[in-house]
């Protein structure tokens, strides 16, 4: 029996719960049993494929089960009687069936008070239309015998309670579910606020979720960034370099405000986690990203609230969105606490995706020779299960991965244990714990004179910057070790049907150590390094997240549901760092810090900060048609200036289900319009609220006070407002579409305003200016073909964004340290802004003079794409063979190829050298110094000045002039075959003996990542530093390692 749309049913169920009497009617297998078993099968309605892992629950109890690999389930201990059984499976519409759990010839049960739970004795129970009548005993129980199969109406009457009638039937306890695909995932419960969850079909904001197992079963992801790539509209997650374990950054919508690091706040199981990129003693610009420690194999869902409209209840720091990661948890199994295990082994290879070409670099062979094939080995074992009162998930994971540049290597061990306790129907206590031990070696690279790529791609003669040659670079040790514990404890208590409360406490405890050694035996042409140098850096971070909230739900009538939420959220973070450097070792055999005879650096820092927020929400649902929410948050933070005003963030949102009207075309199963408005902010940096901060600087005069930082006691958070309009629609069960338009506006942005160096003061933050952004996000999902044999579906995502700095007050344009990216009124933030190339200049005698470029800078495009998108294909044959592909693209953006300009300058480009020779200036001091280091090309005679060929050569040479930055700002549009996998499941052909011994499935998958790129960009990697590895700098490719191509083979065994 189908009770129709679940939302209707849910509303009706809530209404029923407000009655004062509850009926528990039981049919037993035997005449004297009060419980029975119910079992059946869960299948795809169209294909008939079993839906292994589908979740079946008996509503109103803690009983449930997960379907096995054949779609079968069995739930025992079900109190006999009229029961609602619900089956759900990701990507399918939830099906609810009301059924009688019966025993032939017997009907028994128990009557209890709905509020107190106490049994009610002496109550009259009768079967309508028959002579069967009885009275409940002291335990509230009643018992009828010798009934025929069929349907009955039970009548219950007692003074002081509302009379109740209930239909029951006496028949077999088999319940089969044939589920329809939920193409828009409307029944998924998504996060809409700090204490709010709702079905996506009624959510008032754009809800974005990545169900991680759907991807981790197809590919082996190194980091969360790879997992999210191309999966969400309006969210880009890009690696800063090809280093394994290296940094990555989020680009959320049009970028929120002007200030901050433009990164979202991230919660894992309710714990706000440290997502810093740690540099320590740098190796050239690429840090260690703490999010790289999060094991994608443990993740169940990643939900993203992309802007203030959705993140308003998270308050300050939420303007660049909120990323909510939930890890996997155990499920109830019919066979009690028996665990289900899954073992997965992945063997893979990281390889060079793009070769350096001799046509571009004379030293290409040397550059290619330093790149290697790195191995990937990942082993994951997880176990899950649960009983009525305890559910658990545990995972042990090891990933050892080598990057393509020696000695880059990541060795990550993750241990996770998640446990849920359900002592009764009213209380759930959940504990999540994870421990990560991560070791990483970083290669020297990027803007590092001891880096591989600088030494092999600048000059035709490799390793001229480092005395000891290649081995001197290879032997630099940069060992980074991380220990991290993330744990949370949460209790949800529902003392009554209309009130629930939740309390949570979480800890992110992280220790990081870096040991860097330049060996005594190598030569670097720097005295500090030549007799050995050891750097030590340590960082300890402790962050506690605590929260408390309560929800009051009221249903004055069946068409109106109101819930009120209030709560408080607290955050406490302490951070300490310590660094020291010693050098000049007398023996290579002992290189401890103590053995270094010279001390050059010792430093210690500490930070303690707190945030708090008091939030409230009111949610109203009218006739399952209109949904309205109002939100307000008051924030407090130690970083806010003492003279700043109180901080409030309001929000409101509305959804309208047009498909609920009778007149609406039935073909559109869901058609929802939504609008949301919200405000959030970004906090100042620590100590920003202090006008002037001094720090000690050590030297021969002792440790003297130096002005370290200028602040602003009136500083308040940047405020970002967002209006979001959208529609969600599902057409004919085959096509789902989501369309969202947003407009963001930020003011009071906090910005480090560089002061004139002559003031002697460091840059200072002020609330300044205004920026606007907008964008359009489109997601279309289509089920192309679904038969028993073939299942084909596709998804298409496209996002457009733009932003414009509207006002930065009286402040001059703000440049990055390379004077390339700018914050300037009338331009998008981070726009490339430099003098334009105009042509070549020639002397009066016709000889080449140099490039002509404009006196004033001009905009040359933006490093962040205007359009991003992806196309995903899922193909399944006979449920066994699975093909998956992800293609993504980005257009409308630029990259500055600094590596290319440097190689020209040093005479490492054949075309540049040829032109210099043809102009007769190779190796001379002519032409503004751009050809000093160019060796004349043998056998090439210079052209005669003034001739056409000379002028053309001059024009081409000027266009390559390395001192004209605009010559190296290139189109960076690309399309990539990002992910491809082919898997085969042996489930259908496993021998019965294996199945009987507990083996459930074996799957073999071949996969590849970053397989093909089409782009006009001349560098080896079009994505590096798209989002920058450092503040303000974006889209600058300066000897950054390319992202590798990865091939892998995965064996997955379920038992």
């Amino acid at each position: 029996m189908d009770f129709g749309r679940s939302a209707n049913h849910a509303a009706r169920a809530r209404h029923l719960r407000t009655t004062t009497l509850i009926l528990l009617t039981c049919l037993a297998n035997t005449a004297f049993s009060q419980t029975a078993s119910v079992g059946g099968i869960v299948m795809d309605r169209r294909t008939g494929q079993p839906l292994a892992g589908a979740n079946i629950v008996v509503v109103g109890t803690r009983l449930g089960a997960a379907a096995d690999e054949f779609g079968r389930y069995l739930i025992t201990g079900v109190p006999t009687g009229a029961r609602t059984v619900r089956a759900s499976y990701l990507g399918y519409r939830t099906k609810t069936t009301r059924t009688q759990i019966k025993a032939i010839g017997a009907l028994s049960g128990k009557i209890v008070d709905n509020v107190t739970g106490k049994p009610i004795s002496g109550i009259q129970v009768s079967i309508k239309g028959t002579e069967f009548t009885t009275t409940t005993d002291d335990t509230g129980g009643y018992d009828f015998r010798d009934l025929e199969s069929g349907s009955y109406v039970i009548q219950i009457k007692k003074n002081g309670y509302q009379p109740l009638e209930s239909m029951v039937s006496v028949k077999a306890n088999e319940v089969k579910f044939f589920l329809k695909e939920d193409i828009i995932r409307g029944e998924e419960i998504v996060v809409t606020g700090i204490a709010s969850r709702t079905a996506k079909s009624v959510a008032e904001v754009a809800a974005s979720r990545v169900h991680a197992p759907a991807f981790t079963e197809k590919l082996s992801y190194s980091t969360t960034s790879q997992l999210l790539n191309g999966k969400l509209a309006g969210v880009q997650v890009r690696q800063s370099s090809g280093n394994v374990g290296g940094g990555f950054r989020f680009d959320m919508r049009s970028g929120g405000g002007l200030n901050g690091n433009e990164q979202p706040i991230i919660y894992v199981d309710g714990v706000r986690i440290d997502n810093a990129e740690i540099f320590g003693f740098e190796v050239g610009g690429q840090g260690v990203n703490l999010l790289a420690e999060l094991n994608p194999e443990e993740i169940e869902n990643i939900e993203v609230l992309k802007g203030p409209a959705g993140a308003v209840s998270y308050g300050t720091d939420g303007s660049n969105g909120v990323v909510l990661v939930t890890t996997r948890r155990g499920a109830y199994s019919a066979d009690g606490a028996k665990a289900r295990f899954n073992y997965k082994i992945t063997n893979g290879w990281n390889t060079q995706a793009s070769d350096y070409s001799p046509g571009e670099l004379l030293s290409a062979a040397d550059a290619n020779s330093v790149l290697r094939t790195g191995s990937v080995l990942q082993n994951t074992l997880n176990a899950s299960g649960g009983s009525e009162s305890v559910r658990y998930f545990a995972a042990l994971d090891s990933r050892i991965e080598e990057g393509i540049l020696k000695p880059n290597r990541l060795d990550r061990k993750n241990l996770r244990a998640n446990i849920d306790f359900l002592p009764n129907d009213r209380l759930v206590v959940s504990a999540s714990t994870s421990f990560t031990l991560s070791k990483m070696q970083r290669p020297s690279n990027d803007n590092n004179v001891f880096g591989y790529l600088i030494n092999t791609t600048i000059s035709p003669t490799s390793y001229e910057f480092v005395g000891g040659g290649r081995s001197a670079i290879e032997n630099i040790d940069d060992d980074n070790e991380s220990n991290r514990f993330v744990g949370s404890l949460r209790a949800e208590y529902q003392p009554t049907d209309f009130f629930s409360t939740r309390v949570s406490l979480g800890l992110d405890d992280h220790d990081f150590e870096q040991e860097q050694l330049y060996p005594v035996t190598e030569t670097y042409n720097e005295a500090t390094f030549d007799a050995g140098l050891r750097n030590h850096f340590s960082r300890k971070s402790r962050a506690v997240t605590a929260g408390f909230d309560g929800r009051l739900s009221i249903s004055p009538n069946r068409d109106l549901n109101v819930s009120l939420v209030g709560g408080v959220q607290l955050f406490d973070r302490q951070l300490e760092t310590f660094s020291t450097q010693r050098y000049d070792f007398l023996t290579p055999l002992i290189t401890t810090l103590k053995a270094g005879s010279q001390q050059s650096t010792i430093d210690q820092t500490s930070l303690h900060e707190r945030q708090a927020g008091v939030f409230s929400e009111a949610n109203v649902a009218i006739a399952n048609r209109y949904f309205l929410s109002l939100k307000l948050r008051r924030d407090f933070a130690s970083r806010i200036g003492r003279d700043a005003a109180s901080i409030y963030y309001p929000g409101a949102s509305l959804a309208w289900r047009l498909d609920s009207f009778r007149w609406f075309p039935g073909l559109l199963r869901l058609f929802k319009l939504r609008a949301a408005y919200g405000e959030t902010g970004i906090l100042p940096s620590s100590l920003d609220a202090i006008d002037l901060v001094f720090r000690p600087e050590s030297g021969a005069y002792g440790a003297g006070g130096i002005a370290a930082r200028a602040g602003n006691s009136k500083l308040k958070p940047e405020r970002v407002r967002e209006l979001e309009l959208g529609l969600d629609a599902e057409l004919g069960g085959r096509l789902a579409a989501e369309l969202t338009y947003y407009k963001q506006k930020a003011n009071d942005s906090i910005f480090e305003i560089p002061r004139a160096p002559s003031t002697g003061l460091p840059s200072a933050p002020i609330n300044v200016g205004e920026i606007e952004g907008s964008g359009l996000e489109t997601l279309v999902h289509a089920s192309i073909l679904r038969t028993k044999a073939i299942d084909v579906s596709m998804s298409f995502i496209n996002s457009w964004q733009r932003n414009e700095v509207r006002d930065i007050g009286s402040v001059q344009p703000i440049f990055d340290s390379f004077s390339l990216n700018v914050i300037k009124e009338g331009l998008a933030k981070h726009e490339f802004y430099t003098e334009p190339f105009l042509g070549a200049l020639f002397n009066d005698d016709g000889t080449y003079y140099g490039p002509d470029y404009g006196d004033a800078p001009l905009a040359h495009g933006n490093p962040l794409p205007s359009y991003t998108g992806s196309w995903t294909l899922n193909f399944q044959l006979f449920g066994s063979l699975r093909l998956y592909a992800l293609v993504d693209w980005a257009t409308g953006h630029k990259i500055w190829n600094g590596s290319r300009s440097q190689s020209y300058l040093a005479g490492n480009n054949p075309a540049y050298n040829l032109l210099a020779t043809q102009l007769g200036i190779a190796g001379t001091f002519e032409a503004d110094g751009v050809a000093w280091d160019v060796e004349p090309v043998a056998g090439v005679d210079p052209f005669t000045p003034g001739t056409r060929e000379y002028v053309e050569a001059g024009e081409a040479f000027a266009r390559m002039d390395p001192f004209v930055d605009s010559n190296f700002i290139e189109d960076a549009d690309f399309i990539k075959l990002r992910e491809l996998s082919l898997g085969y499941s042996l489930k259908g052909i496993l021998p019965q003996t294996w199945k009987r011994s507990g083996l459930r499935d074996i799957t073999l998958t071949l996969s590849g990542q970053n397989l093909f790129t089409s782009t006009k960009y001349s560098g080896p990697e079009v994505e590096v530093n798209w989002s920058g590895a450092r503040d303000l700098e974006r889209g600058q490719d300066y000897f950054t390692l390319q992202i590798p191509r990865t091939y892998s083979v995965t064996l997955n065994v379920a038992f």
Binding site: T528, Q599, S600, R634, F694, A700, Y701, P754, G760
Partner: protein, 409 residues
């Protein structure tokens, strides 16, 4: 009764909310201060003045070291050659050729440090003026340090930075461009203020010698002679910038044994060829290029990471007086002064027939070897001919200053 109950509920709710707000406020303000930094508003006590004085002196050391290396690189004293192991920094190469972009990172670093030195010195005086000192000697020291280094900062602007290739001068506290001559005047003003707070005759001599140099570079010969006459004398130790392993001598780190980004001009080797005894003044050593054949010369005057760099010495004071004597046609007096300096270095005495202004310039170059004085000397004596016409003769006021200082066009 019902109304009372409702009112009580509302009151309780309001109290709860107020309590939560108050608790949150207390919660976020109850944080530990950082261990490595301090609010400048807490540095207002007499007892904190030594901390701030040391900061001024420390910034002087780093600024001065950077300034003289870059100045010597721009002069004909040092040169950059990528064939020298260790010579890798393009921004240094640009300085050597006098083709300095306004965003040259090495010049930017020096300019930022110089701004900090000026600020820290002036800020020290501002704080000191608001304190009633119990310790008179400490008070004297604080005002001495603030004025001395405030004066030196202005001197460095006047001597080394420029608005364009040939216009020297600097910028103070985001103000308009101050031409060199005016900047020297401001420097002298501070240095004369410091004279009020000297502790002994040595301090007075140091200040007089520095003022004399400022006057000399300003072209005020009479005033220069007057102050130099009260300046450092033979036997006085030099006033110098000090370094250690945590704050390295910039010459050692970038143009010496630490890393050899710059080598010294070949003519210094010729000085030694002509007279080996010059090694007491011209301290250089031979190194080979990447080809293991080409010979370069590296300075070893600052052989260690902690080698101090003289800022002013009695030798320079004598040479200033000699120059002033010579310009006043007191040739023998000038020669005597030069010979006194040479005697200190155990060099032969110059004879009258071989002594003129050119010789004096050479003596200055050798005696004041790698102290950043060759650049102003090349300009003063019209010897800036080692670079193409149009090359920078000063370290440019940087792009960051021009971009962020509305008083600069």
């Amino acid at each position: 009764m019902k109304n009372t109950h409702r009112m009580l509920c509302r009151l309780l709710l309001a109290l709860l909310l107020m309590g939560m707000v108050s608790a949150c406020n207390d919660f976020v303000n109850d944080v530990d201060p950082p261990v490595d930094q301090i609010d400048g508003n807490r540095l207002t006590q007499e007892s904190q003045m030594p901390f701030l004085m040391a900061g001024v002196q420390q910034r002087f050391a780093t600024t001065y070291g950077q300034t003289i290396v870059l100045a010597d690189a721009l002069s004909d004293a040092l040169f950059f050659d990528s064939e020298v192991p260790g010579a890798v920094l393009r921004s240094f190469e640009d300085i050597d050729f006098g083709e300095i972009e306004l965003d040259n990172s090495s010049v930017e670093a020096q300019f930022v440090d110089l701004g900090e030195l000026r600020f820290l010195a002036d800020d020290l005086l501002r704080r000191a003026q608001e304190i009633t000192f119990d310790d008179a000697d400490l008070e004297r020291q604080v005002f001495f340090v603030g004025n001395l280094y405030g004066g030196i900062a202005r001197y460095l602007y006047a001597t080394y930075t420029g608005l364009d290739e040939t216009t020297g001068g600097g910028v103070l506290d985001g103000g308009p461009f101050v031409p060199a001559r005016e900047m020297y005047r401001l420097a002298i003003e501070r240095l004369q203020s410091a004279l009020v707070y000297i502790s002994d005759g040595y301090d007075e001599s140091v200040l007089n010698s520095i003022i004399a140099r400022c006057q000399l570079f300003s072209g005020n010969q009479a005033e220069a002679a007057a102050f130099a006459g009260r300046g450092l004398m033979a036997g006085d130790p030099p006033f110098q910038a000090k370094y250690n392993s945590e704050s390295a001598n910039f010459y050692w780190a970038q143009a010496g044994r630490g890393q050899t980004q710059f080598v010294v001009g070949d003519r210094f080797a010729l000085f030694l060829e002509d007279d080996e005894a010059e090694s007491t003044r011209v301290k250089i050593e031979e190194i080979l290029g990447f080809d293991d054949e080409t010979v370069y010369w590296r300075q070893k005057r600052y052989a260690g990471i902690d080698a101090p760099i003289p800022f002013i010495s009695w030798q320079e004071n004598e040479l200033m007086l000699a120059e002033l004597d010579l310009r006043a046609n007191r040739v023998q007096e000038a020669l005597d002064r030069v010979n006194a300096v040479r005697a200190f270095y155990q060099l032969s005495q110059l004879q009258g027939f071989e002594f003129d202004l050119d010789v004096l310039v050479d003596e200055r170059e050798k005696t004041l070897f790698l102290q950043g004085l060759r650049l102003p000397d090349q300009r003063r004596f019209d010897l800036f001919d080692h670079l193409e016409e149009g090359a920078w003769q000063y370290l440019p006021i940087t792009e960051s200053e021009r971009n962020n200082n509305p008083n600069l066009d």
